[in-house]
Symmetry: C2
Subunit: 342 residues, 2 copies
């Protein structure tokens, strides 16, 4: 080292103050010259403290979308196992505003070093974020971004592009005089997830642009017991349908109706997300293709970002990361299982 003691260097690196200007410059010059790089891992060792992370997302059963986010979180904790992190899961019901509110309420009373939020309800999420901002607790969004909040980062997918991507796939395969049947859930517009809405807009915009707008028809999928019957009915009412599409991860519901009606192969079903049920349908041919986000990468990245936020000194906020959109069919499916980095 050039001139001073380790203590002084430490004060400079952490900007703890009480350092003379002369020495500061001298040390910084040396740091630059030798290309000093902060070592996050030895730092973690030396800090010898643990971190408490809160993860709040819609509740997910095994094999569902949010379970993959958790899997990514788990992988990151494994990868960074030299940094002691205690994750605490606070799932909420994505169809119940009240559940969300009460869970977020509990969270805002917790002590935490970082929070990962998979947001659904805008108002509730903003309220939580305000409280976290006030406490100075960093948070990261996965799957969706909420405007007006100030997360350290967000890891999402551009759903509008996602819809356009679907549009292109449909356009590429659509035959003369054939139509596309869009299945949508029964819920009112305000109640549908913002992701689904954005996908729909992306799709519609694309089809309009390409002059295919009038080749799309719609059908409603009810939440009731007789859904299958109603789906089959819709399919039969539209004999020209070549493509059936679903903009959320419930494509397998349509798939079972298709299997029921022995329409497999006649109708190409395209859905979203590599959930276990969808994968099964992809394998048996009742779903032709799935558009996928990378939920695991979202979870992985979120943890990674919180760690670097807490341990690094540079603190710039509001990064927006858009992750890739993948197209998965039977042939490339085996290689999409749980891959973050090979």
């Amino acid at each position: 080292m050039a001139g001073v003691s380790a203590g002084t260097v430490d004060r400079i690196l952490h900007s703890r103050g009480n350092v003379s200007e002369a020495k500061r410059q001298a040390v910084e010059a040396v740091l630059n010259k030798v290309g000093y790089k902060f070592n996050i891992h030895t730092s973690a060792v030396s800090l010898k403290r643990g971190y408490h992370f809160i993860v709040t997302t819609p509740l997910a059963g095994e094999g569902e979308y949010w379970a993959s986010v958790s899997a990514g979180i788990h992988e990151a904790l494994e990868e960074y196992s030299d940094i002691q992190i205690l994750p605490d899961y606070f799932p909420y019901d994505q169809f119940d505003e009240k559940s969300c509110r009460s869970v977020f309420d509990t969270i805002s009373k917790q002590e935490a070093d970082g929070v990962i939020i998979g947001p659904t309800f805008r108002k509730e999420t903003l309220a939580l974020c305000r409280k976290l901002d006030k406490k100075g607790i960093p948070y990261v969004f996965v799957d969706a971004d909420i405007e007006g909040a100030h997360p350290v980062a967000s890891y999402t997918v551009d759903q509008h592009s996602c819809g356009a991507f679907l549009g292109r796939m449909l356009m590429a395969g659509l035959h003369e005089g054939k139509t596309i049947l869009l299945f949508r859930s029964e819920r009112r517009s305000e109640e549908r997830s913002s992701n689904t809405l954005a996908r729909e807009k992306g799709l519609m915009d694309f089809l309009q642009e390409q002059g295919l707008g009038n080749q799309l028809v719609q059908a409603i999928v009810p939440q009731t017991e007789d859904a299958e019957e109603i789906i089959l009915d819709a399919l039969n009412r539209h004999p020209d349908v070549q493509y059936a599409i679903v903009l959320n991860s419930r494509g397998h519901v349509i798939a079972s109706a298709i299997k029921q009606g022995q329409l497999t192969g006649k109708i190409q079903l395209i859905g979203f997300d590599l959930t276990r049920k969808n994968v099964e349908c992809l394998l048996d041919g009742s779903i032709a293709a799935l558009l996928c986000q990378r939920p695991q990468l979202q979870g992985f990245s979120a943890i990674r970002r919180l760690i670097s936020w807490l341990l690094y000194h540079s603190k710039e906020k509001n990064e927006r990361h858009f992750l890739p959109i993948d197209l998965v069919v039977k042939e490339n499916l085996p290689y999409y299982r749980e891959v973050i980095r090979g």
Copy 2:
């Protein structure tokens, strides 16, 4: 700790011997109980040595396939910058066996702690691997695997599935009475890359299976100056062509012929690999879609694996990792740029 000194634990962890059976068992019991996890980063600090890695792949210009592999290697070195690694690049000419032989010869004379090989020529690669085996130097394959060698791991793509994937995409979009035109390079079969051959087989098998075998015609792309003319000629000779396909990364060559002949939009061109030139064609519409491997992930994973091989104690060989195959079109392209983990 329970009973013994740090030195003894150290001897046990490294199986350095000279430890009494009684203490060994006692210590191992404690390690299990407290869930001991080796910390690779502090280990690297205290080892205070650097590692010398050799990277040998076909020579790549900026924006080409192998440049992405290097980018992934670079990212890994950045991520693991607390472990001192000196990479040494030894590119060879992928179309010249002799160049490869002489480069591999040089490599086998070098001192190295690990080697990353992007293989092309089977015989030359096997010769190199034998020498490395003898010296006990670990090596990893990227992009392609060579049978008979004993790499620590390989990070490749299942090219047969890749061809089948392409087949499915073609089948989904092919109209009645239309054909597929496959452009292939002039080289003799033995000289074509094994990846390209495997893709071709995967594609052919799929089309046969689906009864579409007779809808595929072929044309040769020469390496000469008048390639464009010949390509255009082939396209004009086959007025029924809906899809043009190229199984290597030279799709942009066909694309410029298509632009020249003002056939953009009339003929759907599908190629391989997100090289800079191909990306440009994707953006201007002359290429409809690209099937992509994840060269960056290959490079990243290779470095990562060599590090864990050198620093961890468990040493199992011959892992084969098959990475995903992605479909990229204009709409999802922006999100595929240089993503390893967001």
